[in-house]
């Protein structure tokens, strides 16, 4: 029995279960221990450092780097949800016998380093588009949200319909509205590409595309503990090569490419001669000749440049000038900062209790596709809720207190009197008045009708009025930079129309 492989499998399943719980099941994880798991992922942790929020999780990527120096790329099989998901896919494909037998693949350094450089430029330039589509955690998060939550929510709807008459409401918590179609389509396409890539070449994404993998690979090739093949015992049967999901074992030469090995420990199990071990023994390090290095660097930079160009073009082509800016979640600070830090992992979307936070299509421009925005046709931003800012692992939605949120202005309200029932029909409606948490929309009694009036300076842009208005007469004009709302002075309680006969605590009645 191979203990290491079992540890890997159990740890992987535990991590995947925790992610499932986070993205699909628990609606309100406020402050819970398991929000640690997304926060210690490599890219979120790195971005937290840039966000300068002072979060302790910023050290996580350094710890991961140091750990890789000692034990190799264990991160990719023990902590990375995308890596573990691919392991699960591989297992399923094994069961259905639709997986190819592996063989050693040449490393593709130009592609790998180009992607790495591209990701690096993407983070440092603040144009996060590339990372949004490459970061393993965010790719996984979006898939989990878009593909796992609909069936789970359908199921919970069904269970809830049986549980509710018995007074059990816990299953009702999960019932959510329908997901926008494009989110589902993107999720399916990404999953499909992973199904194909794992079928054809195992952990191809992790060994060739993933920038985190490539970066950790640079470290793991010098790691203290490694997989090694004992040349004296090896009979060149090639079984280890055929089982290697990373395609990094060259059985002919008896060598392992440690920059690509993700420590699945399958080879240890399969070797009939116990010739493969994991430990300190160092097989001779192959160093790329200097001339080849220059070529590598040049090629990588050129490719990365090609990758950056369309992103820059998209950003400055003014795509997002169309229509209004999106309403950003409270804590996003500014559109520039939000786009610099948000990898669109959709953890906030999956957690939003009122369903107002939704993935956007091109509200942030094509470069900001799938970033979350407030969709008031779906819900409103609850005044006393800051869940999205609590769960965001990148601090793209910076942590804010409920108190801070009460005066945080995401945008200001605008009332179209030509559409408003109270103005056009001279009838009480007041839906906006009663829902407004700050009295920025208030009623003014005129000829017996409560006419809505607006004090935009007091508006927080929560959209409660937009969501409830029966005639779409109100809308929120979003700010590109969130500002402070005024605390409005409320009029003192009006004098009673009839002088009270019986004050409280007397025995006289008012009627």
């Amino acid at each position: 029995m191979n203990v290491l492989r079992w540890i890997r499998r159990i740890a992987g399943l535990a991590v995947l279960a925790a992610f499932f719980y986070m993205f699909v099941l628990d609606e309100r994880l406020a402050g819970a221990w398991y929000q640690v798991l997304p926060a210690i992922q490599f890219v979120p942790s790195l971005l937290t450092l840039i966000a300068v929020s002072g979060s302790v999780f910023a050290v996580s990527f350094i710890v991961i780097g140091l750990a890789t120096l000692v034990i190799g790329r264990a991160y990719c099989s023990f902590l990375c949800p995308l890596g573990i998901m691919q392991d699960v896919l591989l297992r399923l494909e094994g069961w259905f016998r639709i997986r190819r037998r592996y063989s050693y693949r040449q490393a593709r350094p130009v592609l790998r380093y180009a992607v790495l450089v591209l990701a690096g430029l993407s983070i440092s330039s603040g144009l996060l588009t590339a990372v949004r589509w490459l970061d393993p955690y965010s790719l996984f998060g979006r898939m989990a949200y878009s593909l796992l939550s609909p069936p789970v929510h359908c199921l919970s709807h069904w269970i809830a319909s049986m549980a509710e008459p018995r007074g059990i409401l816990i299953f009702s918590d999960l019932a959510k509205g329908q997901m926008p179609l494009f989110v589902l389509i993107v999720g399916l396409l990404v999953l499909l590409s992973f199904v194909v890539s794992t079928m054809l070449a195992g952990r191809f994404y992790c060994t060739t595309v993933c920038p985190v993998g490539t970066l950790l690979g640079l470290v793991s090739r010098h790691s203290l503990l490694k997989i090694h093949i004992d040349a004296d015992t090896c009979v060149n049967c090639g079984q280890c090569e055929h089982i290697c999901r990373s395609g990094c074992i060259d059985a002919q030469r008896g060598s392992v490419d440690h920059s690509r090995c993700v420590l699945c420990f399958d080879c240890l199990s399969v070797c009939p001669k116990d010739a493969i071990g994991y430990g300190l023994k160092c097989a001779g390090l192959r160093v790329t000749p200097v001339g080849q290095r220059r070529k590598l660097l040049g090629g990588s930079l050129a490719l990365a440049g090609l990758g950056v160009a369309p992103g820059v073009a998209l950003r400055y082509a003014g795509v997002r000038e169309h229509g209004h800016s999106p309403v950003m979640p409270p804590g996003a600070v500014s559109i520039t900062q939000f786009k610099t830090l948000c990898t669109a992992c959709h953890l906030c979307v999956s957690k939003c209790p009122t369903d107002v936070l939704q993935p956007s299509l091109i509200a942030y421009g094509v470069d900001g596709m799938l970033m979350p925005h407030l969709d008031f046709s779906r819900g409103y931003c609850e005044f006393d809720c800051n869940l999205c800012s609590q769960v965001c692992p990148n601090d793209a939605i910076a942590p804010i207190t409920i108190e801070q949120k009460h005066t945080l202005q995401l945008g200001t309200v605008e009332l179209d009197e030509n559409l408003c029932v109270s103005y056009t029909q001279n009838e009480d409606c007041g839906a906006c008045i009663e829902h407004c948490p700050t009295h920025a929309i208030y009623g003014e009694l005129k000829d017996g009708v409560h006419l809505p009036k607006v004090k935009p300076q007091g508006c927080v842009g929560c959209g409660a009025c937009v969501h409830t208005c029966p005639e779409q007469a109100v809308r929120v004009i979003a700010h590109a930079v969130h500002t402070q709302a005024e605390r409005l002075e409320q009029p003192e309680p009006p004098q009673p129309e009839e002088p009270p006969k019986g004050e409280p605590a007397t025995d006289e009645f008012l009627f």
């Binding site: 409401l169 839906a431 409830t468």
Partner: protein, 309 residues
């Protein structure tokens, strides 16, 4: 919290001993009449003041013939509190949880087979149910609390007597129920001037936007043409006098310590308007309700029993 309650209880005990001794003579005449007379002897409305909500409720129901008058053995009951907003109980934007608990208990004691509690909330229902404290207190009392923000739980009904609200959807449990007990909280309301018994019934309907769009006050009143609650219990203990219905400041609240019970929904709202310091005829849905003969605004024509604790 518990300290506050115990002080109030002590106060109550002191007061009830004094009033009990002082009114011994009157009680023996008046009280027995209430206990034994059916129908004609009972008041049209009972108003109690100066007590805690649960205690006022007990006194009111005693004077009103007890819950068994409305809830028969084996009945299915819907208790409709106001738990429409994500506000804590101390802000009184929602019905006093202690009162709801007492109402549910009293229905079950009267022999109710099942008591359902729900509200089509304005704010997020999970937060509102939980943070208003009503869900927990109703469940503890033995009620089944149901969500009511999903259209699938509603069924279409006809309302032939109405001018505007002719067809609408009500919660399916309302269709199955034998008894509807309306337990609103009295508040100032930015859209209608006041919310009490009639306005509270909006939480039984699926499409609230229809109301807002087509004459809010008319629709509120016309719902009562479809169904009048078996009993209305208005919680006017801590009353939002201004900036209602949900984000009033502490200084907008006034400790009035009233509770009314009545089968006449217009009359109980008329009394409520007076507690709020408003002219009842200025609350349009109350006036429409009176005009549609759903009930009467003429409190002088009613037999109102007033109990000051």
């Amino acid at each position: 919290m518990s300290e506050k309650i115990s002080i109030n209880r002590r106060d109550f005990l002191k007061k009830s001993v004094f009033t009990g001794v002082a009114s011994y003579g009157t009680l023996s005449e008046f009280g027995t009449q209430n206990l034994f007379a059916e129908g004609d002897g009972l008041p049209d409305m009972v108003a109690v003041k100066n007590g805690e909500p649960d205690i006022m409720f007990d006194r009111a129901m005693d004077a009103y013939g007890g819950m068994t008058r409305f809830v028969k053995n084996g009945a299915t009951v819907v208790v409709k509190p106001n738990m429409s907003w994500n506000r804590p109980p101390e802000m009184a934007a929602t019905t006093n949880p202690g009162l709801v608990k007492k109402v549910v208990q009293s229905c079950l004691e009267a022999g109710a087979k099942q008591v359902y509690v729900f509200d089509h909330t304005c704010a997020d229902w999970k937060m509102s149910y939980e943070n208003s404290g009503v869900q927990e207190s109703a469940q503890r009392a033995g009620a089944v609390v149901l969500p009511a923000n999903d259209s699938k739980d509603y069924v279409a009904v006809e309302n032939p007597g109405a001018e505007t609200l002719k067809r609408f959807k009500v919660h399916e449990q309302l269709m199955n129920a034998d008894v509807l007990i309306n337990v609103p909280v009295l508040k100032h309301h930015g859209s209608t001037g006041m919310t009490a018994a009639m306005k509270n019934l909006m939480g039984l309907v699926d499409d609230r936007r229809f109301y807002h769009k087509n004459g809010l006050n008319q629709c509120i009143a016309e719902f009562c043409l479809y169904k009048k609650p078996t009993l209305n219990i208005v919680d006017a203990y801590l009353v939002t006098m201004s900036n209602g219905p949900q984000r009033a400041r502490p200084q907008d609240l006034k400790l009035m310590k009233y509770l009314m019970v009545s089968t006449d929904i217009v009359a109980i709202d008329t009394a409520s308007a007076k507690i709020l310091g408003k002219k009842p005829e200025n609350i349009k849905h109350v006036q429409i309700g009176h005009d549609l003969k759903i009930g009467t605004m003429n409190l002088d024509a009613l037999k109102i029993q007033r109990i000051a604790l």
